[in-house]
């Protein structure tokens, strides 16, 4: 079982920013141990230390330490306190501390996870994971029983990645819930879950989830190397991990996907990606990711292939519209009026007649306004939502046109751009083109269509050189692998996807039998 929670990087402690105290080996004296412990973790109100002495009978003396709120009180009472108090042998005069320790560990505690540790540093992380520590007088070794159980949010529908048809459950903040959801979907012994503790102060659990034999060893090695190299004191959300391990440096494009959906993650893992679940956030990561991954939604596979293919194409067009439409509007109205049909040109010119601003300023004004509205929509308290919508739609849209600040065509352009942006299933790539759009607008205002084409070409060259954990960002289009194109721009029927795509670095593996197209058996009945 590779899931050793104590896997930490040896060189991490060397240059850690805070001073790490030297490991304290447990003292035979329980009193000393408890003193050092209380010195180390302070007198916090949630820490419960309970001592048992049996003065009348034996020298056996022990103490329980646990953190209230991290443990399940029932389990502590029934699984630890009660058996210890009720076991007759422990009250015997002749029992030694060593025997008692073994007996407690092997016979008395009705708990699955019981671990040992002989330094305070080995025991403390378990304490913070909700274990109950048991220390005995006269022994230089302590015991930790898994009694963890804290308040968790229940499993809800994902809020940012909804589907019409498909599973409605999303990851929660709990790492264990996340891994269990994947186990439920992938009931194969090949599923591997490796756990890391990252962040000196947060000790956040980070789980690497993959299928042995399908995920590429090369990619796994690289991800492990980068995870181990993280030296920070806190990991509070998956973006912390994402920024520390993702390729590209200065690139506007994301090279790691994030998802709230366990089914999407299972799909990715089945195609050779590696999942990274982070404790404390429902957003898990999938890597390596290519540009085209960001246009695939798990719902594509839950609907008929023809409608899925159509929706895919809509998404790619929406991507270009969202990136280019304001820039094209600026370029055409400023430089290339002759490209418009005459009637449209006349109507546009009539609208723009009363507008005091040049096209670029007009577009910038409206785009920035929309971004303000959007940000307000995310931050504002729910109850005043409708008010903002009315102000946004009526005042900034209709009234701005009537006041002659902007032209009606510009309002259409900006609204359509904004809506197109939401068609893209991944927020990560939708956000990256929000910024590219502004650059595009400035270029369109100075160099027209030529500038737009040049900048597109620069973006293309940039993307052609980008990699995600060694996988070319534009694969399988560039470098092209024609047989992998079945699930990129369109989605072919499931029975035709015989081979696992996208595992550019891994082995190409078969995922299902051939010739599975459903046909009536025997002769045509008609």
């Amino acid at each position: 079982m590779p899931g050793n929670p104590q896997r930490t990087n040896p060189n991490k402690s060397d240059n850690a920013e805070q001073s790490v105290p030297a490991p304290f080996p447990l003292d035979p004296s329980l009193e000393v141990n408890l003193q050092v412990l209380s010195h180390r973790i302070g007198q916090s109100s949630d820490i419960v230390v309970r001592r048992f002495t049996n003065e009348s009978l034996s020298s056996l003396e022990l103490a329980f330490i646990y953190i209230d709120g991290l443990v399940n009180a029932d389990v502590v009472n029934q699984g630890v306190l009660q058996p210890l108090l009720e076991t007759v042998q422990l009250k015997s005069e002749f029992i030694s501390a060593t025997d008692a320790f073994q007996m407690i560990k092997t016979q008395i505690l009705p708990i699955g996870g019981v671990k040992e540790g002989n330094t305070l540093e080995a025991l403390l992380p378990m304490l913070f994971d909700g274990y109950t520590l048991i220390l005995l007088e006269g022994l230089q070794v302590g015991m930790a029983a898994d009694t963890s159980g804290w308040e968790k949010r229940s499993i809800n529908e994902p809020t940012s990645q909804g589907v019409i048809r498909g599973p409605k459950e999303g990851f929660t903040e709990s790492l264990r819930t996340g891994t269990s959801m994947l186990r439920r979907r992938l009931k194969t012994p090949d599923l591997r879950i490796e756990e890391y503790k990252i962040g000196q102060r947060t000790q956040t659990g980070v789980a690497l989830v993959y299928l042995e034999g399908i995920a590429s060893e090369q990619v796994l090695k690289e991800i492990r190397r980068r995870l181990n190299a993280i030296n920070t004191d806190s990991i509070l959300e998956s973006n912390y991990i994402e920024e520390f391990i993702q390729d590209g440096g200065l690139t506007p494009f994301p090279t790691i996907q994030n998802t709230e959906r366990p089914d999407a993650m299972a799909g990715g893992i089945l195609e050779g990606q590696v999942g990274i679940i982070i404790d404390g956030t429902p957003f898990a990561l999938l890597a390596p990711s290519t540009f085209f991954n960001f246009f695939q939604s798990s719902e594509d596979y839950y609907q008929r292939y023809d409608i899925s293919s159509f929706l895919r194409l809509i998404r790619y067009s929406a991507f270009f519209v969202s990136m280019l439409l304001p820039a094209l509007y600026i370029a055409v109205t400023t430089f290339h009026q002759e490209m418009l049909p005459t009637t449209l040109l006349i109507s546009l010119a009539a609208q723009r007649e009363g507008v005091p601003l040049p096209a670029l300023a007009e577009a910038l004004l409206m785009e920035l306004t929309f971004d303000v509205l959007r940000e307000a929509g995310v931050r504002m308290p729910r109850t005043i939502g409708p008010a903002i919508s009315i102000v946004g739609a009526l005042v900034l849209g209709q009234a701005a046109v009537q006041a002659g600040l902007v032209s009606a065509a510009m309002v259409i352009v900006v609204s359509f751009t904004a809506i197109s942006n939401f068609v893209i299933p991944s927020l990560a790539i939708a956000n990256s083109i929000r910024l590219i759009r502004f650059v595009m607008m400035f270029i369109a205002a100075t160099l027209g269509l030529f500038g737009i084409m040049s900048f597109l070409m620069v973006l293309l060259i940039h993307m052609a050189g980008l990699r995600s954990f060694g996988v070319p960002y534009l694969s399988p289009v560039a470098p092209m692998v024609p047989r992998y194109l079945k699930d990129i721009f369109i989605r072919v029927p499931l029975w035709d996807m015989t081979m696992r795509p996208k595992t550019i670095l891994g082995e190409e593996t078969r995922r299902q039998g051939e010739h599975q197209q459903p046909k009536p058996q025997g002769e045509d009945p008609v």
Binding site: F450, M453, V477
Partner: protein
Amino acid sequence: MHNKEQVSTLQLSFMIMLFEIGSTPLFLLGGKAKQDSWLAMCTGSAAGLVLLMLLLWIQYRSQHNDLIGMLALHLGKIAGSAVGGMYSLYFAYQSMRNVRDLGELTALTMLPNSPMSVTMLIFVGIALYAIWKGTEVVFRLPEVLLPVVLSFYAVLVLLLGIMGSLDFNQLAPVLENGFKPIADAALPDIVSFPFGQMIVFLMLWSLWDKPGVPVKNTVAAYLLISIFLIFMNALNVAVLGPGIAGSSQLPFLKTVRTLSSLKFIERLDILVTIQLFIGLLIKMMLFYFCSVKAIAELTGKSAKWWVFPVGAVIYGASFLERDYTQHIAIGLGPSLKIDPVFQVAIPLLLAVSILLRSWFARSSS
């Protein structure tokens, strides 16, 4: 995972196709042959195929070597380096012609008021960026761009077909004045542009990620694209008639403008402009790339070291010609005289040297 300095079969084929398309369909090659210009294209293509076979044979006989290595091997170190240097200059010159083409055409169609120095600088800059990123990136571009370009052509051809402005009777009478004018138009003009430009692939075939020479794929790509170019040539004449097609500066743009009777999409110029831009960019980039590769190999420095100097030379040289008229005049005059030397004479010399060597080797043993 393959090596960074290797390209796949598909990448090579796509590059050949996009490189040969370049800006060719926008012009009417062999206009001197009037309605038989498409036959001139056929002749040029056939002659080009013979030349291509010669190049492939040379490559086959000296595998693992590119042009510079072959020259050094067959002409000796000094003479080989000198000729190699000339090739590097020749590639840079061809690249510069494309830069100037784009500068002029942008000024003509898209940005009449912007200084050409800016547009050309951007153009060279894009190519520089791609070459700086390396062989791998340069050869990935056609995989994205060729489908885009071809689909634009398909849309335009389809619309021309539906709109009914196609009149293939304009291609008659075939062979009105016999074969002579066709041969005159084809040789050497059409051979040297675009078909003879396949010479650059002597620098590139050795990058193939499999052993040997990609003969089958190269020839298939070449034939496919020849058919496409011949068809486009015939299309221009069929729409515009030999008179207008022969005399206009950008006949394909005129052809597309006949579509203006479509009410909704009145101007499809933008598609033509994009085709032009991509075609010229790839062509210019590949010449630039080969120039950098040649000089890097001659000097033993890394390609990255040479990207900027060569780019600066190409950019600077694109200002040498005074105006478009001179640019065209040089292109049709001295340039056509030089081309056969680099495209035919030196490869022939190499071939003779290879034959002599193998003959001597056989007779001595």
